[in-house]
């Protein structure tokens, strides 16, 4: 089933989807395309509408407006049974009264595949998820990770045009979750499966995706590669949701030389990244500064910005130290500094000068 001739995956395109539940707006003008073989993650907090979008694609909900096309075919008005979409549910939704084998055989039985072929294809699918030998177990006799694999085998055994994953790793412990993430990703790439993945876990999204679509309040905030989402978020919301962030308000000052400058509310002047359109002097802006890009100014002579402050809180995290600092005007900053042997450690109340490069301070909002 991994051979190229079997590739049945198609692209997904969702256009102008609106969905309301009474007064509640669940989806507002959502448009999105997922290329054939691509792994796209919808990332958003709970209640952001991501599950509703998934249900619309799967056919469990009908959109008020807009349409859904899978592999070039308009499926908006089709019954879920006719869409040929594989889905792994949050709690796996394995049939508790059927054995592993019968669970995986179910979609094939529904398609009236001949019994002999069902047997070989189920065996193939179970081999793919490394569950050969578990055919006659019941779901409850399996561990969480194994149940997850069964759900995955069941979702791909009928060679779906599209694979939907609804927060499938939520119930697993951290170690298992990380290994399943990589495993699912490998399988997806090997089979070339177009995949729409739903999660609220930004780390998971960064690890697994070709592209990420950040969603909030029923709208798509930003769609892009993981690196773009993390490094060049287009709104404070995206910046805040993906990774840790300092978001600082200030006013653009007249640029001297190449690097534009922003006067923060506390009076501190910082140089910010010049890429993109820099607003005219006087514009009120918000600037994103990732905590891990703030360093000890003494260690980084190249840093254009040097800001004195006081350590308010110092947290030891093993891999790094996390500091809460207060700078001029009572503004608080989060900084993460590496725990290398030479790194200086600061305690609460210590004076510190943090440094950062202009390129790491990005204007993400103009007001």
């Amino acid at each position: 089933m991994a051979s190229n001739s079997d590739k049945t995956s198609g692209d997904l395109s969702v256009t102008g989807i609106h969905k309301r539940y009474g007064q509640v707006r669940a989806l507002a003008d959502v448009s999105l395309t997922v290329a054939a073989g691509e792994f796209l993650t919808i990332l958003g907090p709970s209640g952001s509408g991501k599950t509703t979008l998934l249900k619309v694609v799967a056919g469990f909900e009908t959109p008020d407006e807009g349409d859904v096309r899978v592999g070039g075919r308009d499926v908006t008005d089709l019954d879920p049974a006719q869409r040929n979409i594989g889905m792994v549910f949050q709690n796996y939704a394995l049939f508790p009264h059927l054995t592993v084998e019968r669970n995986v055989a179910f979609p094939l039985e529904m398609r009236r595949v001949p019994t002999a072929e069902i047997r070989t294809r189920v065996a193939e699918a179970l081999a793919l998820v490394e569950l050969t030998g578990f055919e006659h177990r019941l779901p409850r006799q399996l561990s969480g990770g194994q149940q997850q694999r069964v759900a995955l085998a069941r979702a791909i055994v009928f060679r779906p045009t599209l694979l939907l994953l609804d927060e499938p790793f939520g119930a697993l412990d951290r170690k298992l979750r990380e290994s399943m993430q990589l495993e699912v990703r490998r399988l997806q790439q090997r089979l070339g499966l177009t995949t729409l993945f739903i999660t609220h876990d930004q780390e998971e999204a960064l690890v697994m995706s070709d592209r990420i679509a950040v969603m909030d309040s029923g709208r798509l905030e930003q769609v892009g590669r993981p690196r773009d989402i993390y490094e060049a978020p287009q709104s404070p919301l995206v910046a805040d949701f993906v990774g840790e962030s300092n978001i600082l308000s200030g006013t653009v000052e007249a640029a001297e030389g190449a690097a534009p400058a922003v006067r923060l509310e506390g009076g501190t002047l910082i140089r910010v990244a010049a890429d993109g359109a820099v607003p005219a002097p006087g514009a009120r802006v918000r600037v994103l500064l990732r905590p891990e890009r703030l360093g000890d100014a003494g260690d980084d002579p190249g840093a254009e910005n040097r800001i004195p402050g006081t350590v308010v809180e110092s947290i030891y995290l093993g891999l790094s130290d996390k500091y809460r600092l207060r700078i001029a005007g009572g503004i608080e900053l989060l900084a993460r500094m590496g725990a290398s042997r030479t790194a200086r450690r600061y305690a609460e109340g210590d004076a510190i000068t943090v440094g950062f490069h202009a390129a790491d301070a990005r204007i993400i909002e103009v007001r």
């Binding site: 799967a58 469990f60 049974a81 529904m110």
Partner: protein
């Protein structure tokens, strides 16, 4: 180390001893009728007396050889089975509707489902009698079955609604996403999983009808059901046939209960093929 000591102490806990004594008392109270009924049914005497003067099978023989008793038994079985089938046929779709669909007055309908349990049977009986006498259903076994269905329906719906509320709807969605039609999903996934509730509901419907007296007294006319015949028997001649019939009934219901438990268990733990 700490664990066994804690256990030993728990066993001597006076509250625990009290609880056991109470449970024992309740059990004794529930079992007492059986302890009386069974010996009397084997009585060698000719009237109801406890303890019996001697033992014989004469009352079982009398029951078996009396066509009126046998007729009543067959009629009751017939009515019971028909009630069960009718109550499930109406109750299953109703329970699905109450748990799945959104429609006006759903709450009110769910509340009023238990009305036949609350309304005194005698009131219900008079009402049904009035209606059925116009329809010419008095004395017909299926008339009684229809009336019994009304009585059994609350039990059936309450049990099924509870079962369906526990059922994870995602399982049905999953089935449909994998190519099953709505009907196939219900038949292949939902019904097997709520089967224990269906068996319980069926059992409750059957015994509701099988042991029902008040409605049967109004509706059965000359064609008596078993409870009606037992009642008449006690009113007219006080002899131990009733005890024999009771013993048989208890035995029959117990077997039925065991079977329904068996089915429920089988539905809970299907055997790997």
């Amino acid at each position: 180390m700490a664990h066994p000591t804690r256990r030993r102490r728990a066993r001597r806990d006076p509250a625990r001893i009290l609880l056991r004594a109470f449970a024992g008392l309740v059990f004794f109270f529930l079992m007492l009728p059986l302890v009386v009924v069974f010996p009397i049914s084997f009585s060698a005497g000719s009237y109801l007396r406890f303890p019996p003067p001697g033992f014989s099978l004469q009352w079982y023989e009398r029951y078996w050889n009396d066509p009126i008793w046998i007729d009543a038994t067959i009629r009751s079985l017939q009515v019971g089975v028909a009630t069960t089938v009718l109550a499930l046929a109406v109750g299953i779709p109703l329970a699905f509707g109450l748990t799945r669909a959104r429609f006006p007055l759903r709450g009110a309908i769910e509340q009023s489902i238990s009305a036949p349990m609350i309304v005194p049977h005698i009131v219900l009986s008079i009402a049904i009698y009035g209606l059925f006498s116009k329809l010419g259903l008095i004395g017909e076994w299926y008339g009684i079955a229809i009336a019994h269905t009304v009585l059994a329906l609350p039990f059936v719906v309450i049990v099924l609604v509870a079962g369906l509320r526990n059922f994870d709807l995602n399982l049905e969605l999953a089935a449909r996403g994998m190519g099953a039609s709505r009907f196939q999903a219900i038949r292949r996934v939902t019904l097997p999983m709520v089967a224990p509730s269906v068996y319980s509901a069926a059992f409750l419907a059957f015994i509701t009808s099988f042991d029902e007296l008040v409605v049967a007294m109004f509706l059965s006319g000359a064609n008596m059901t078993l409870p009606k015949k037992m009642f008449d028997n006690i009113m007219t001649e006080i002899e131990p046939t009733v005890a024999a019939v009771s013993a048989l009934k208890i035995l029959f219901i117990s077997i039925l209960l065991l079977l329904s438990l068996r089915f429920r268990k089988a539905a809970d733990t299907p055997i790997a093929h």
